[in-house]
């Protein structure tokens, strides 16, 4: 399908986590939008779908998946795509996103976001998979840049060139995770500003802001702490160039009280405004 049109959403949000369901169900407008993990709601019934429906009445919702495995060499799981389509039809999301990665192959699922070699072969395969996904979902796909801890001897291009080419070949859009750029840049020795220079910003619809941890010789994308200053600084660079998009705080572990996340949302708003003032000057 043609995927040229995906309206922008200009606002700030958080990833909705179970600890914060009561607040989102009981209080007024806390953020401009929320993002939910698709797989948590690809269930048959019960509280998850009750909560999602109720939250959707109050907020725009972005569906963010972790299991599409768009880069699996043995193709996509059609049962997964059909379940996701069903959820998307129910939720009427801003968009449906997943990661540029593979999670498993030949009947194995690691439930981790595994890295891809950036080669022409991979480009052709991922492009074909994106077209299939977009056809089944009847929506454009939004792809997120992953954090990674390996690069491949066969790599023929940078990640940002790979993503740009994917958008040209398939009409997909991008979710730019600023923390992941920072983490992968540190792990693989590239300058995040080169990444930012290479991203086709007209295709970016969403931004993730998160924290990371120091591992043994590598930064680890743990998403378990506040956004650190270098990631905020990189966000300002991105915000100055990206135009109106949905930006959000993403926390997946050690979930703090909602107030802490909302305070980070306020920082994101301030950093965004600062970037535009600097840009205008």
């Amino acid at each position: 399908m043609s995927s040229e049109i995906l309206p922008r959403f200009d606002g700030f949000g958080v990833g909705l986590r179970p600890q914060h369901y009561p607040a989102f169900l009981e209080q007024g407008a806390l953020v401009d939008f929320v993002e939910v993990i698709s797989e948590n709601f690809m269930v048959r019934g019960g509280r998850p779908l009750y909560v999602l429906d109720a939250v959707r009445e109050r907020y725009p919702v972005a569906l963010h998946g972790v299991s599409m495995s768009i880069g699996s060499a043995d193709g996509l799981k059609m049962d997964y795509l059909r379940r996701l389509k069903s959820l998307a039809d129910r939720t009427r999301p801003l968009w449906v996103s997943d990661h540029l990665c593979w999670t498993g192959v030949e009947g194995f699922n690691s439930h981790d976001l595994l890295p891809l070699p950036y080669t022409e072969e991979t480009l052709e395969l991922v492009s074909a998979n994106i077209r299939t996904a977009q056809d089944v979902l009847e929506r454009p796909l939004v792809l997120e840049n992953p954090s990674s801890y390996l690069t491949f001897a066969d790599d023929e291009m940078t990640e940002w060139d790979f993503l740009g080419e994917l958008t040209r070949r398939t009409g997909c859009f991008l979710l730019l995770d600023v923390n992941n750029i920072y983490v992968s840049g540190s792990n693989h020795g590239f300058d995040p500003s080169d990444y930012v220079d290479g991203v086709p910003f007209d295709r970016v619809r969403q931004i993730h802001l998160a924290g990371h941890s120091q591992g043994k010789g590598l930064l680890i994308d743990t998403h378990d702490q506040a956004v650190p200053d270098p990631v905020w600084d990189l966000y300002e660079t991105v915000a100055a160039r990206v135009g109106p998009v949905a930006a959000m705080i993403e926390r997946d572990d050690d979930i703090p009280p909602l107030e802490e996340l909302l305070a980070e949302v306020q920082i994101a708003r301030a950093r965004h405004q600062a970037s535009h003032r600097a840009h205008a000057a």
Partner: protein, 251 residues
């Protein structure tokens, strides 16, 4: 190297007993491979802890972690959803702790309650509909989340104490056969210990037997007053528990 060959290689690194090395990567890949090797296990152990929270509390960190890691080595996940990961863990624990039946029974209860949590919705029949039924000829449909298992220990009391974070009672063998049924009422997963008559009745009804025939079977050997009391209490509990979601006349 083809993409498929590369993915098979990384899969083997992740599944291996120790993180491996390989020529497919740029530079020194040992640290990166170790991250993926470790993250895979950490996430699956966390998944099992989450699903089997009371079992974990009962057997303790060390025993649970060891059992979980051995299970993960034997049962790598294949589904796209972690919701179904760990389905074989109760049976695995039974084989691992054959002298401690309450462990596998606790695990079954953890699993069944988790599945009931996001299982299929089905509203209970209203009192008006129930009141109009010709019960003798009726075939009932129970909530789709209903699961039953025979138990030999006071596992329900142990689970309940662990859920309330009070001191669990010591394990006791039940004096007579019993079962636990799990279902969801509204949005809340529930469990209840039931006796052999109710277990038999639900089993028959789930096989499509009529309510009348089921009552006849489970009342065998009882005088009329006892049979009436048994059936009345059973039916009243099912209605109170929102278990009956469908009814049709026997063909």
């Amino acid at each position: 190297m083809s993409l498929l060959a590369l993915q098979r290689g990384l899969k083997q690194h992740i599944l291996g007993a120790v993180p491996g090395e390989g020529g497919a990567y740029r530079g020194d890949a040992a640290a990166g491979l170790a991250v993926y090797h470790n993250a895979y296990r950490v996430q699956l152990v966390a998944c099992l802890r989450d699903t089997y929270e009371k079992t974990w509390a009962w057997i303790g960190d060390e025993a649970f972690e060891t059992a979980a890691r051995d299970y993960i080595a034997e049962y790598p996940p294949s589904s796209w959803t972690l919701n179904v990961y760990g389905a074989e863990f109760p049976a695995y624990l039974l084989a691992r702790f054959p002298e401690d039946a309450e462990i596998a029974e606790l695990a079954w209860l953890d699993w069944a309650l988790r599945r009931a949590f996001d299982g299929e919705d089905a509203p209970p029949l209203s009192p008006e509909v129930l009141g109009a039924l010709d019960w003798e000829q009726t075939v009932l449909t129970f909530a789709p989340t209903l699961e039953l298992a025979s138990v030999t220990t006071n596992v329900a009391a142990i689970w309940s104490a662990l859920a309330e974070e009070t001191n669990p009672p010591p394990v006791e063998a039940l004096p007579e056969p019993a079962a636990v049924r799990v279902w969801r009422a509204g949005l809340s997963p529930q469990y209840r210990t039931i006796g052999p008559a109710e277990f038999r009745a639900i089993d028959l009804l789930q096989r499509g037997e009529s309510f009348g025939n089921t009552c006849a079977v489970v009342s065998e050997g009882l005088d009329e007053a006892a049979a009436t009391q048994l059936i009345g209490e059973m039916l009243s509990t099912w209605i109170q528990d929102e278990l009956i979601v469908g009814a049709r006349a026997e063909p």
